[in-house]
């Protein structure tokens, strides 16, 4: 007896230009699917298309017809979709209905719609900085479904801008980046996939693809993290920035 391959990755990526949809925050909230065109993916026309939204305690799935005949138009969403300030994350998927286990054949993850898109546009940084009451701690890294946040002790003057100052960045940012990457490894089963993907894209651009996150051997991952942090420091010339500040003060 053997188990099925859990790391199956023969999935096709659905790009943003394959569809056009938006959310309307009215009562009840509506999903406006203006266009879904997956024909160039060359998938069987009868495979099923779904849009799934999820937030902390909420999940909704909307059937969007098939690859050949996608459903468009306005669709009512559950009244509680935006309750309590929820900002659901969405994914569009095509399911192989001929497969006995209903394999996901194509997917677009981290789809942002309506109010979410506005919120996302307002977020200009991969790592937002927020002043906070941290007691004796100078800084603290936290993560939730929207991503990592760097909290800086609000007793420090101009706390929000501190991490960008060369004399602080040189000491702080490598440590923060290292912690983010270690958390991606340690909390691989809890950190949101979209958040994970964003950070891995950044890290990969600095030091090449990451090792297998699920491998028992942690050394390879730690070595890769070292490379990412080194490349980050080199790219942003952190030591030179620090040096200039120190020399200017002398």
């Amino acid at each position: 007896m053997t188990s099925r391959n859990l790391n199956f990755t023969g999935r096709v990526r659905i790009e943003r230009d394959h569809f056009e949809m938006a959310l309307a925050e009215r009562v009840p909230p509506q999903l406006d699917v203006r266009r879904v065109d997956l024909t160039d993916l060359e998938l069987p026309g009868h495979w099923a298309v779904f849009l799934e939204g999820r937030a902390r305690d909420w999940f909704h799935r909307e059937e969007l017809g098939t690859v050949a005949e996608p459903r468009t138009g306005r669709m009512d969403l559950p009244p509680e979709t935006f309750a309590g300030g929820r900002l659901p994350r969405w994914r569009l998927l095509v399911v192989d209905v001929d497969d006995e286990f209903r394999r996901i054949a194509a997917m677009a993850e981290g789809v942002r719609l309506g109010a979410e898109a506005t919120a996302a546009q307002g977020r200009t940084s991969l790592l937002p900085v927020e002043p906070a009451d941290l007691g004796a701690l100078p800084w603290r890294l936290a993560v939730d479904s929207n991503g990592f946040v760097l909290f800086v002790n609000d007793r420090l003057p101009a706390a929000k801008d501190l991490p960008g100052r060369p004399e602080v960045a040189a000491w702080l940012l490598p440590a923060v980046l290292r912690e983010v990457l270690l958390q991606l490894r340690l909390r691989q089963d809890t950190i949101d996939e979209d958040v994970r993907r964003e950070w891995l894209q950044l890290a990969t651009s600095l030091a090449g693809p990451s090792p297998d996150e699920t491998a028992e051997d942690e050394e390879e991952w730690l070595d890769w993290v070292d490379q990412v942090v080194w490349s980050f420091a080199a790219k942003h010339e952190l030591v030179d920035g620090l040096l200039r500040t120190v020399e200017a003060e002398e």
């Binding site: 859990l6 305690d57 009244p79 209903r102 007691g135 603290r140 936290a142 089963d189 809890t190």
Partner: protein
Amino acid sequence: MVEVRARRLTEEGVRRFSSYLEQLRQGTDAPRPDELVEDPTCTEPVPCETTFDSERTFATRYELGCYVRDRLQVCGGPEREETITEPAFWAWLAALWFDQICPRDPETGVRSLARIDNYVPVELLTGSALGRSSGDAWGRHVIRTSWLLVERYDGLVDFVLSNPPHRRGELTEQLLGRADLPLCPTAVEAFALLYRTKDGKPKPGAAGKGPGTARRFALIVRQLMRTYDVHAMTPERLLELLPEEFDRFRPRGGQAKA
């Protein structure tokens, strides 16, 4: 029995409750401030016009979740939605039953305080040292998580919530720690098929870190959800996809898929 009209903590109430918890954390013992129950400075009514018995005791988290669910059933529509999505309502309930969810040790008299977001929902803590602190899907709030599981899955989760209210337990940790699991009925039903005994208790060995444990289930099912349309499967079908390490927990007759 002392029935209290459902309320929520005001900003001042949240501040005083958090401050009280911080005092406890630093070792200063004191009774829960009385004003957190009905005082208009610290509390205000929620839209849902129900009541809760402040002296009610609960043997398990499941009993607690069932009681809250039943009490909330008296209202519906926007009043109910506005109440259950209000973090300060859950903070008020935690204050109401604080002696149960954070009891004193009978021998030492000392309270064993858990992380603050077990009592004050994490949404109210943003900007504090404990805000946005974990990847937990439904947060860690003792009462809200118990209610959510009962509300969605009723008797299917009695074994997950079989601990007394002040103990979270490994199965809760695994089921609620993964964003996708508690939102997927197929996954929760498969979880129950694997780890629930007929009398609603966790099977021996379900907790822990070894092969086939709840921890492994959460990890593997999350991977499967990225590959298969798990939401549309039956729980039995999902069990077929699990590898051999789960065989010792599988219901009789259920085997891994070849």
